[in-house]
Amino acid sequence: MTPTPFEQLAQLDRLVHDPTRLAILTALSVCEKADFLFLQRITGLTKGNLSSHLSKLEAAGLIEIEKRFVDKKTQTLASLTGAGREAIHDHWQAMESAHKSAARWHPGKLVPAPST
């Protein structure tokens, strides 16, 4: 049985679908590497908040963090891993599929929730 658009949306990977992390992954998907300041400016997040999201993405193996020194200051560069590219690609595929399902979807006979 074909899943409803709601079921498809519920199956989305929350790690990727979170708006903040989706913004970060979207930016990284169209470049090789981006530094911390760029990601902060483009998402409008505070340093701590962005850092937290980057750590989560790194822990999940979706991005790689690289540190280097530029003008005696630490520069943090983030890039998508192969798994990260695959994850964001799959995510957009799932979203498109849900979008198409939503366009075709008609509410059928409502099934009452089982009584407890």
Partner: protein, 233 residues
């Protein structure tokens, strides 16, 4: 627009109040700014080149001599300063298609610039009017727009490109409509002003699209990203 449509479907999974709230157009903006980050650094090349064109055009118009060495020095120093400004204020993006500048590529680039520059210089010397400048500027703007994937955000590239190219049309500049535009000095000033304007519009896209992030107590004073190493909450 693909992302806008898709994001409209997913509104049911909206972010909590304290988190970033995204619209589909935000993702488009993020993709556009990331993809065209170098192009949008208008103060880096376009504004200095435009000002140099104006500086060359004014003496030509007034019939005086221009100081080329001073122009070259001012141009190169402003290029370096703008590069540092963008890196410190907006950060840095490395593009996947950025290939290293090998000796072969550097020579090919130099040869192409010398070839085009030579043709333009020859046309200017032969005709001594603004038409070659208009053609070069107009073609460069339209070519740049195609190179960026004809982005609708950069609508002003083809708009101004067509306007500048129109100045090269015989009935526009060489006829009775705008006779003053035929002058080489006027051509340099007009093309320079358009280049400066485009540079400023590009820069505005970055300033508006990448606003200053909120500062919190946890952010350090000198803008270093030492927080990036912090553990996930």
């Amino acid at each position: 627009m693909q992302y806008r449509d898709v994001m409209n479907v997913s509104r049911s999974l909206a972010a909590p109040a304290h988190e970033l709230r995204l619209k589909g157009s935000d993702l488009e903006r993020i993709q556009f700014l990331t993809r065209n980050f170098r192009v949008l650094q208008g103060l880096r090349i376009k504004v200095p080149v435009g000002l140099a064109l104006i500086a060359m055009g004014v003496p030509e118009l007034l019939g005086t001599h221009s100081n080329g060495a001073f122009l070259a020095l001012a141009l190169s120093s402003s290029l370096v300063k703008a590069d540092v400004y963008y890196r410190r204020r907006f950060g840095e993006v490395l593009r996947p298609d950025r290939r290293p500048l090998t000796a072969t590529r550097a020579w090919a680039l130099f040869a192409a610039i010398a070839f085009v520059g030579g043709i333009v210089a020859w046309l200017i010397a032969v005709h001594h009017n603004g038409r070659p400048i208009y053609v070069l500027c107009g073609v460069a703007l339209i070519w740049r727009w195609f190179e960026t994937g004809r982005s609708p955000y950069l609508y002003y590239y083809p708009l101004f490109g067509a306007l500048v190219l129109a100045m090269a049309a015989p009935n526009a500049t060489f006829g009775y409509l705008l006779p003053a535009m035929r002058n080489l000095g006027t051509g340099c000033i007009f093309a320079g002003a358009v280049t400066v304007l485009i540079g400023l519009l590009d820069h505005r896209q970055l300033v508006v699209g990448m606003p200053q992030p909120p500062q919190t107590a946890e952010d350090n004073e000198d803008g270093e990203d030492t927080e990036a190493t912090a553990e996930a909450t």
